[in-house]
Symmetry: none
Subunit: 252 residues, 2 copies
DNA sequence: GAACAGCATTCCTACTATTGGAACACAAGG
DNA sequence: CCTTGTGTTCCAATAGTAGGAATGCTGTTC
């Protein structure tokens, strides 16, 4: 969609993105050049430039590169400007302790949604989510908690697209999804068993702003086999938290 | 220091950095161009390129730019790969040389804490700690440096348990411990004389992560009889180190 | 211990892609 | 309705990048 772009800058951005995607901490010049189809010389120049700005750092011994302090500052700057985060983050540990399961916070990013924080309980078998990864709005508790509280037009538009299947339990039929969403609105929270992630289950409820729109979603989630027995208690604790936060955003 | 750089990429990086520095969430093209001495056209091209990679997003209404999801993922990727040990271990020899005493690194393991590394000075009478042995959180400098910076709930929970006596100097009274912890938080470091180990004394301070939680503790310790004369100087050197490391973990 | 392999880094010229002034479009405010 | 401030596009000049090849370095193999 962006119109006037600069190829050099896009390639440089690709290098940066590769650091975020790669599971490994460090990347070498050759490795980057091959995976991006660039020449080693070009990759090296870009890395040297990023290095001068602290975006990446060079380990002098291994001659390999990793992300730098500036990269971290970018991430924290992004999170700082999300004010619902400041409001909700302190609630997650309390919710996790109360329920004995993982509590998460998500925000919407267009037609997707990402976890931006989580608090995990202190026990052996726990569930942990991936922060920063976009997920579709129709699969899983947190996603459906967003979708259910969007406007009728937005829901219709979203459901008219092709809906990705993430697990065998993902619902992709628009009719069945609409029934789900109606129930979610009536109960005030969404429940999901293995819709986004096999073996996982969750309850999720939105924090509504003064327009009644979902500013964020909190979920309580855990391993599916034991979670079902706790689901009702989790939902009660969850709603108590989200109702209070919604009120703080001016929702009544 | 970097040798072969690419001017275009450096300018692009400067734009990115500006988003992290600026207190405001959004920036406009003109604003960026003027503050960086670039032409509006160049800034616009760079932003368009970053936009295609999700590093920045454009608010269609206000025509202003802010950081995007990819920026957050960079920050989280940086934080993920930070292994406190790798960060702090190289600092221990320097701290030991500077103070003439032993420098140690501890991490928490639930309701206990273990030394995972140490650096000893080159002199005849030195103190040496046992790596890998769990110690309780209420006795000794390193332990109390952890305890003091946990959440109020965690402290209360810990103090409600029965507290082991390790030496005649160990404090086990919850009231006196709370007074200790308050002082530690105010000074930024903990001091202990023979609380965990007879004949030993130490100062200890936490490395705090971006949540303000203690990721690790560094201590400087030595034989009690001579250590007291050096304690203030050791604390100063210690805090200089831990403050810098906390910043690298995103604490501010 | 010498030859080798694999890596990062530098060099240098052809040439492609960026540059930036100016023109344009659009919105808000006087 | 004109003005002033945006962000965006256009285009020719040229400055800066690209990339193949050479170099230097490190660690490994025989």
């Amino acid at each position: 969609m962006p119109s006037q772009t600069a190829a050099t800058v896009e390639r440089a951005a690709d290098i940066l993105v590769r650091f975020a995607e790669a599971g490994t901490d460090t990347l070498g010049v050759t490795e980057l050049a091959e995976s991006l189809g660039m020449s080693k010389a070009a990759v090296h120049r870009v890395l040297a430039s990023f290095r001068s700005r602290g975006l990446v750092v060079l380990d002098e011994e291994s001659r390999r590169y990793s992300l730098g302090l500036t990269a971290m500052r970018l991430g924290l700057a992004y999170l700082d400007r999300i004010d619902v985060r400041r409001l909700a983050t302190p609630e997650l540990p309390a919710l996790s302790r109360l329920t004995g399961e993982t509590a998460t916070l998500s925000i919407r990013t267009g037609d997707t949604r990402v976890y931006i924080d989580q608090a995990t309980p202190e026990r052996e078998v726990i569930m942990s989510v991936s922060l920063g990864v976009p997920y579709p709005l129709h699969a899983g508790g947190s996603s459906k908690a967003f979708l259910a509280f969007l406007s009728e037009e937005e829901i219709t538009r979203y459901l008219s697209r092709s809906l990705e299947t993430m697990t065998p339990a993902t619902v992709t039929d628009p009719g069945r999804l609409r029934t789900d969403l109606t129930l979610i609105r009536r109960r005030g929270y969404a429940m999901s068993i293995a819709e986004r992630q096999s073996g996982a289950a969750s309850v999720a409820a939105p924090i509504l702003d003064h327009h009644g729109r979902p500013a964020a979603v909190i979920s309580v989630c855990g391993p599916a086999d034991r979670f079902m027995a706790e689901a009702d208690a989790c939902a009660a604790a969850l709603l108590q938290t989200t109702d209070r936060l919604s009120a703080e955003l001016g929702h009544h």
